[in-house]
Amino acid sequence: MCRDGPTLPLHSEHVALGATLVDFAGWEMPVRYTGDIAEHTAVRTSAGLFDLSHMGEIAVRGADAVPFLEYALVGRMGAMGLGRAKYTMICAPDGGVIDDLVVYRRDWDHFVIVANASNKDVVLAELKERSAGFDVGIADESAGVALIAVQGPAAEAIVTEMTARDADNIASLPYYAATNVVLTGDVHAFVARTGYTGEDGFELFVSAEDAPEVWRLALAVGGERIRPCGLSARDTLRLEAGMPLYGQELTRATTPFDAGLGRVIAFGTEANSRGDFVGRAALEAARDREPSRVLVGLVGDGRRSPRTGYAVTDAGGSVIGEVTSGAPSPTLGRPIGMAYVDKGFGEQGTQVLIDVRGRGEPMTVTALPLYKRAQ
């Protein structure tokens, strides 16, 4: 199963835990430790521990950091407070999505962009090209940074217990905000209340050399409440939570509007004007025309799940869309998926079929997300 991919700081921890490792974007990553469903359920009911060290961290520093990011990305970065996080995208001049990103503001002139592992080099190259004329430095810090996520209803209690000194900071940290924390053992971490599972949770940015200590600390403090989780559980969790995945729901051929994420684009208003940004003209045009397809959720009553690439058809068998992601939902106990369908089939409750080896499996069009945690 294992290929000779580059190893990440927590590799030996995963091997010691008996993880099944797979090649993912060139990295050898844990796909599961024990079982996908048990790992998924741990995050919904208690807590899961994820190694996300394959993600890319790109630092942007300099006097022009704000105007540069507002030109390079589609969102408004200048309005972010210190220690805040923002979900945004980097688009091509034609409006296609190059990647979806989370940007953290660490200081007035210092931002950290987290990019998908498979896109990091493309994002880095685009940022460098777009930085001409701006007073900024762009640095790929991925190799020195490990990213560890604790996600689930018990996450706050566990991360609080991982730091005696900064427990109050963790408990009071708002969603999509981050703070510097000293963890037990004097380990410095940048801790964000963000995640990709649909649950409350934290993402801990630590140095690569501190990563094994932090990983073991989370397992020791969490005890029975926490379970290490692989990429497989991460995918079913994000699917239930209706979160798009680059390469599936988001691609160079889709604009943010196609994925129902037009709200991430800040065009500016008369009262709150904003300068030019890459993709602006194409995205304004995309805003003004109705997308021909819409991203919807699917829920089935049968046993077979929609899967990436499966055709969606109407009752007569005519193709009206394509599945982008799908799996049996461990939480709902039913097959679920996301699909782009022709606009006329986007209404909630519409009955469609998924072509499973020539057989039509009935599915109901459903609003996203398919799972929402109790607040």
Binding site: T20, R307, P328, R357
Partner: protein, 127 residues
């Protein structure tokens, strides 16, 4: 390491075969622990129907896990004489006990099998 029982034969597509490997012989077929581990939690199995004919090396069904759909191949040529009905309600038996309660179907062989691997050869294949 996944276990590879010595008393079974194996296909390169990760099925195991137990029984009399001759025309007229009856064999039981399942997937190996290696394959079950790679698939993850199996949630649905589409096996061939009793009476159907299957051909060695050809697709005869599907295995669906939380992560993916994988094709099920027949390691021998013959007629399906039984399927494991319990898997409809307990597909995870394939993960828990792939060489026992996780068996998938039984075949009466109509053509001399060839190309199956012994445990040592299959172990090498998946090492």
């Amino acid at each position: 390491m996944a276990s590879v029982p010595d008393d079974l034969q194996y296909s390169a597509e990760h099925e195991w075969v137990d029984g009399e490997l001759a025309v007229g012989g009856e064999v039981t077929v399942g997937i190996t622990e290696h394959a079950a581990d790679a698939l993850g939690d199996i949630v649905y199995i589409e096996a061939p129907s009793v009476g159907a004919t299957v051909t060695a090396g050809e697709v005869c069904g599907e295995l669906e896990s939380t992560k993916a759909v994988s094709e099920l191949y027949s390691p021998v040529t013959g007629t399906i004489i039984a399927i494991n009905d319990e898997l409809a309600n307990a597909p995870d038996n394939v993960n828990k006990d792939p060489f026992g309660t996780g068996w998938i179907f039984k075949v009466q062989i109509t053509e001399e099998p060839s190309g199956l691997l012994d445990a040592a050869a299959y172990g090498d294949l998946t090492a």
